[in-house]
């Protein structure tokens, strides 16, 4: 017992108890301040699904997640492909591409705010490129792309590491055998390498999906959800509901919905990618 108690106390007190209490909270009208709260059934859930604001945040978040996951995985895979193709100084390059992942979202967001607002606009004006001349972060339709660009820039270096490990796990005799059979370049990657590195895809997709659904820090420092809430992701919406509008019950109901969205999205992804695994 001595061995497990020190881990169990914080685990239960910080994860399990709040999780269960949180489910209970969604059935109440608590405002976070008053000593009492009424039991109101599933009204919180009904109201969030009728709330056009919340629905639009879900839509924005899904758009952000889809593009971030796709582009960061493509980019990470591509970097890993080049870095494992016998290039010189592989280790230094690898370390360079990974660098953004050492730094927290708050700081990355501020760095890119300068880049989008004061650097790229200068480039746009100098080269007479219209769409670059004004900051994309102040444009309702394009601001979400600022968030996507920074996330892809950050995550691709992380996913690259996992894809590199994937490329290295492919036995070289199989690649040689495929070359003798006449497979070259693209064909070799598509028919031999990719099927053999499915485990790397499972992990990379899982990490990128679950992380991008929970993005908060970067969202806060880069755009604060502006302009006009056009870049407010679910995580930030939950925060605002609870801690700015004092609607704890509704905020928590949204948080439970987020939990289900992440669980379902990653569940489907792991199920389908695992099915594609093959034995070498």
């Amino acid at each position: 017992m001595f061995f497990v108690i020190p881990a169990l106390i914080p685990f239960f007190a910080v994860v399990i108890v709040p999780f269960i209490y949180g489910i209970y909270l969604t059935f109440t009208d608590w405002d976070g301040i008053s000593a009492t709260h009424k039991f109101i059934g599933i009204r919180n859930y009904v109201s969030i699904f009728k709330d056009p604001d919340f629905i639009s945040k879900v839509y924005i978040t899904i758009k952000y997640v889809v593009f971030t996951v796709l582009l960061s995985n493509i980019m990470g895979f591509f970097l890993a492909y080049i870095l494992t193709s016998g290039i010189k100084y592989q280790n230094i390059l690898r370390a360079g591409f990974f660098t953004p992942n050492l730094i927290g979202g708050i700081i990355l967001g501020y760095i890119w705010k300068f880049i989008f607002a004061d650097v790229l606009t200068k480039v746009g004006q100098a080269l007479n490129i219209d769409w670059l001349s004004t900051s994309i972060l102040t444009d309702e339709n394009r601001a979400i792309w600022g968030l996507i660009v920074v996330s892809v820039w950050q995550y691709s270096g992380y996913l690259m590491l996992i894809y590199i490990a994937g490329f290295m796990s492919v036995p070289s005799d199989l690649l040689e055998a495929s070359e003798i059979d006449g497979a070259t370049g693209f064909k070799k990657v598509w028919y031999v390498t990719i099927p053999l590195m499915i485990p790397a895809f499972v992990i990379c997709l899982f990490i990128s999906i679950s992380r991008s659904f929970m993005t908060y820090d970067l969202n806060l420092s880069l755009t604060k959800g502006e302009p006009y809430g056009a870049t407010q992701l679910i995580a930030m919406h939950i925060y605002q509901k609870a801690f700015s509008s004092q609607e704890y019950g509704t905020g928590q109901a949204e948080a439970i919905v987020l939990f289900f969205i992440v669980a379902i999205a990653t569940g489907i992804q792991v199920y389908f990618t695992k099915k594609m695994e093959v034995e070498a």
Partner: protein
């Protein structure tokens, strides 16, 4: 042969152009942190007229940098050490004693890793606020222990399974009790996993913003991400010191990275494949 060479060249050129693109944001902030705000706004690509470190002095004072740095350092190191100790012990018990309750708790821990932080955040603040435990560094350390334990236990579990039990039996015969056996025989063998967990947990806790922003309310307790946020909100008009502040915040991490790059990258990969 010639085609091969051209291909090599294209690959090299491409990858270095990409690398420059990836690192440009950092380099531009570094460059402009030595200029005045007017110089930056006029031309962010121009070299600074003279090496001016006033921005750094300014940022250092306004951020109360030393204090926040120490706060971050203490928070990160204490939490990480605690996570490693309690998780390795729990994992050891889970591997060696196959009681039903152990398996259930272990399965709960694994399942809990799927819960987004946002799903726990509101009740967490409500509960600990009611108990009057907010605005307390110890509370935050306790919470990191709670959030960090599932993954660390899971990782230790996978490793301890591979340690032959004969070693421990020999120690027991030599008169060690269970606790001594664990700390003298098993724990030293865990070094490779400990490196992985140190890397992942240090990066997580050092950079974490949301949890400490909910728990640490008074300015003198702030960690670096909180200080950076407050600094940007208070002095948003004068860009140059802000950029110097960003560089100050990043530098310690980059120094460690330059020193221990290989261990860090290996730790990340091993952590991901768990």
């Amino acid at each position: 042969m010639k085609a091969e060479k051209t291909k090599e060249l294209v690959k090299n050129v491409l990858i270095y152009i990409l690398l420059i693109f990836y690192l440009t944001p950092f380099l531009l902030i570094l460059l402009n942190s030595f200029k005045s705000t007017e110089e930056f706004v006029k031309n962010p690509f121009a070299l600074p007229g003279k090496m001016n470190i006033d921005n750094y002095i300014d940022a250092f004072h306004k951020m109360n940098f030393l204090k926040s740095f120490l706060n971050s350092l203490i928070m990160t190191s204490v939490s990480t050490v605690i996570i490693i100790l309690i998780s390795s012990m729990a994992a050891y018990l889970f591997v060696r004693e196959k009681w039903k309750i152990n398996n259930m708790i272990f399965a709960t821990m694994i399942a809990s890793m799927l819960i987004p932080f946002q799903t726990i955040m509101i009740p967490l603040v409500a509960i600990y606020g009611n108990l009057n435990l907010l605005n307390n560094k110890l509370t935050l350390i306790f919470m990191y222990a709670g959030f960090g334990t599932p993954f660390a236990t899971f990782t230790f579990h996978g490793f301890i399974k591979g340690i032959p039990i004969e070693l421990e039996e020999a120690a027991l015969i030599d008169g060690c009790n269970k606790i001594q056996t664990f700390f003298r025989i098993v724990f030293p063998l865990l070094k490779p996993v400990i490196t992985t967990i140190v890397v992942l947990d240090v990066l997580w806790i050092w950079n974490d913003y949301l949890l400490p922003s909910l728990i640490l309310l008074s300015p003198e307790q702030r960690t670096l991400p909180l200080t950076t946020y407050a600094f940007f909100n208070t002095y948003s008009a004068d860009f140059s010191p802000l950029m110097a502040g960003l560089i100050l915040t990043i530098t310690p991490v980059i120094i460690i990275y330059l020193l221990a790059q290989n261990q860090i990258l290996r730790g990340i990969v091993q952590g991901a494949f768990k």
